[in-house]
């Protein structure tokens, strides 16, 4: 295990590496484009005009800051840690995805790109991208696995209404991984005018760092809000992880606060021991896919295996490279919650707090239900409630045998 660095917040290095993870494993055709993107992003980051425009949109268009809400009834029910929710499900478009998309689409505009493409799993990133593209009047194409098109139908309708073209991808397992393959194939042919808006902290450098930076608004707000509510930093942060953008956004600003315990919850599917899961860090090993080196679900030879999760947003055999690095550095704990635990958590939150969560943060809650009772009552726990469940109500109703 590598020795602990002075700061966990300095990565990646100039070649986009977090330890051995990350990097730029892309076809040569794309390489000059991602170098351009890196330059353009660094320039935008240093430009107050860009930051001001983004801040304005985050506040007045997306509705930030999202509230930090003390979940009193849940806390009493679980009888342990004092549970707060970071309410990113209240953002415009219904999830944390808008934080990143507004940044990237502003950057696309700044770079003079005339077309935006995106991949999507649950459809939350697709909807956010379609929304920003409508706002900025840029044509938008969203790649989505055919399986996900079926199980997240409400989001497909939303994207279409917002003027985006949704392309159903039937290759492979027809889920998020295949949508990303297809988006990369489109990009290699259209890179001269097209901006690829990646939805999570993965892909070739600079995407993992750039998406993280845009999502750090979650953790930065949480810090200020918790100081105001309790006069001190939280003790425990919990977030679900597919690619890992909502978790990175919450955790990253706290990486160097040694007293803050960070817990990432992967999708355990039918149980990690069954092999049918999406827990790359728990059940995978390092490999190279989609432009970066990271933990992947794969066979002995390196063929990528299919992930399984009830949640389309977590149904991905990889994870952002910075998470892989932080796992090996021992700074973040990574655990998993099964489909059934997520479903139980989903129902508990509906009835106890009157909040219908997305299936993705329902995984985080599935772990909070186990963890909170083991913690003292003065332990301040923040869970990122990163998406709302409107998109999931029909799928969950069907799974629970409810009549609609």
């Amino acid at each position: 295990m590598p020795s602990a660095p002075n700061s966990f917040r300095t990565g990646p290095d100039e070649r986009g590496h977090f330890g051995i993870f990350g990097g730029r494993y892309v076809a040569e055709t794309l390489m000059p484009l991602i170098l351009d993107l890196e330059k353009a992003y660094n320039a935008a980051k240093a430009d107050p005009t860009f930051q001001n425009e983004l801040d304005y949109l985050l506040e007045h268009y997306a509705g930030r800051p999202s509230p930090l809400y003390y979940a009193k009834r849940l806390t009493e029910k679980l009888g342990g840690a004092k549970i707060y929710f970071k309410r990113d499900e209240l953002n415009h478009t219904g999830s944390h995805k808008i934080n990143n998309v507004l940044g990237q689409v502003l950057l696309a505009k700044r770079m003079g790109k005339t077309r935006v493409i995106a991949e999507t799993g649950a459809g939350q990133h697709g909807v956010a991208t379609a929304t920003a593209c409508a706002l900025f009047d840029i044509p938008c194409v969203v790649f989505m696995g055919a399986v996900d098109v079926a199980r997240q139908a409400p989001n497909v309708v939303r994207m279409n209404m917002l003027g985006a073209e949704v392309r159903a991808v039937t290759a492979g397992s027809a889920t998020l991984k295949d949508a990303m393959n297809e988006a990369l194939r489109d990009w290699v042919a259209t890179c001269e005018n097209t901006f690829y808006c990646i939805g999570t902290v993965a892909g070739p450098h600079p995407y993992p760092a750039m998406v993280r930076d845009f999502q750090c608004v979650i953790g930065n707000e949480t810090r200020v809000q918790m100081m105001k509510a309790e006069g001190r930093l939280p003790d425990t942060l919990v977030a679900c992880i597919g690619g890992g953008s909502n978790a990175m956004g919450l955790f990253h600003p706290f990486l160097d606060d040694k007293g803050v315990r960070l817990v990432g919850v992967e999708a355990g599917g039918k149980g990690v021991e069954t092999g049918e899961h999406a827990a790359s860090l728990t059940g995978g090993r390092p490999g190279v896919l989609h432009g970066n080196r990271t933990y992947l679900l794969q066979d002995a030879e390196g063929q990528i295996t299919e992930a399984h999760s009830i949640s389309a947003g977590l149904d991905y055999p990889g994870i952002g490279p910075e998470h892989s690095w932080l796992k090996e550095a021992g700074r973040i704990e990574y655990v998993s919650a099964t489909d059934d635990e997520a479903l139980a958590a989903f129902q508990m939150l509906c009835k106890l707090e009157g909040i219908i969560p997305a299936l993705e943060p329902a995984h985080a809650l599935g772990h909070v239900i186990k963890l909170a009772p083991t913690l003292p009552k003065d332990n301040l726990l923040v869970m990122n409630l990163c998406g709302r469940g409107d998109k999931d109500v029909f799928a969950v109703a069907e799974r629970l045998g409810m009549k609609i």
């Binding site: 892309v26 490999g287 989609h290 063929q303």
Partner: protein, 277 residues
């Protein structure tokens, strides 16, 4: 001198360009795939690219994606791919035709770059073309490839400008592969004029031979490339001939292998019809 360097020296002496043929290892099954590999030189292939199937071929179009799926279903592995090459060298006695493995880096990384290079060299492999390993990430492979005597053929694209070319060339040996179009394999084709301009530009930076690929489907197109480049690379169109030789149940029809060879012969005639200075 490597087999690849010797082959290009021979082509130069013969005053002609070469034909590089791509087939996917294990497509449509291991047996028929070996029959195809064995007969490629006689059909007119000057160099052979043997594709290593990967579950997520991000730079490939539908034809090569499907070929990879057929091969994975038929049970192709990295070891079986090495075995095909070993058997080719032993059974045909062909010690001159270069064989390059083409594919994605994860299969190399999982075996370990050092062991992969050694095993490949021992099997009779001459070079690698790894589409998702740009010069920025090539350091962890290159020393092991050099030690094993394996050439690394890097890709250049229309987007690779003069400022960037030296970085690509620094890691290239054997030849340089110019991807003539923006896009995935087997889709659009470049104009002869565009290819000429780019090849001349790359030639100003290197003495390495230049192979041009992506979108070459007809003997005339192959001949047009041969007028400007040192080799024409054909992949998707060959793989489509393999698919055309399958019946509805996915079994190889008797005319599959002859059909592939007849097509390659026509391409080779196109390339060989061009006399070079």
């Amino acid at each position: 001198m490597s087999r690849i360097a010797k082959r290009f020296a021979r082509l130069k002496a013969d005053k002609r360009a070469g034909l590089v043929t791509y087939v996917t290892a294990g497509d449509p099954n291991l047996d028929v795939s070996y029959q195809i590999l064995k007969g490629l030189p006689a059909a007119g292939a000057d160099l052979i690219e043997l594709g290593m199937p990967f579950t997520d071929p991000m730079a490939d179009g539908p034809s090569i994606q499907l070929a990879g799926q057929r091969a994975l279903k038929a049970g192709i592995t990295v070891d079986a791919t090495f075995d095909m090459v070993r058997r080719f060298r032993k059974e045909t006695g062909d010690n001159d035709t270069p064989i390059l493995l083409m594919g994605y880096y994860n299969l190399v990384y999982q075996r370990g770059p050092e062991r992969f290079c050694k095993d490949a060299a021992a099997a009779g492999v001459d070079g690698f073309i790894l589409v998702d390993l740009p010069p920025e990430e090539a350091d962890e492979l290159k020393p092991h490839a050099v030690a094993a005597g394996i050439d690394t053929v890097l890709l250049t694209a229309p987007t690779t400008d003069d400022a960037r070319l030296p970085a690509v060339l620094k890691y290239s040996s054997g030849f340089v592969y110019f991807v003539s179009v923006l896009g995935i394999t087997g889709t659009s084709s470049a104009t002869e004029e565009a290819v000429r301009t780019h090849v001349e530009r790359i030639k100003r930076h290197t003495d390495l031979p230049i192979g041009v690929g992506f979108g070459i489907r007809t003997p005339d197109q192959a001949a047009a490339i041969a007028r400007h480049a040192d080799a024409a690379v054909v992949g998707s169109a060959i793989v489509e001939r393999v698919k055309a030789g399958l019946d509805d149940g996915g079994k190889a029809k008797p005319d599959l292998v002859p059909g592939v060879f007849a097509y390659i012969k026509a391409l080779a005639d196109g390339v060989r019809g061009v006399r070079k200075a």
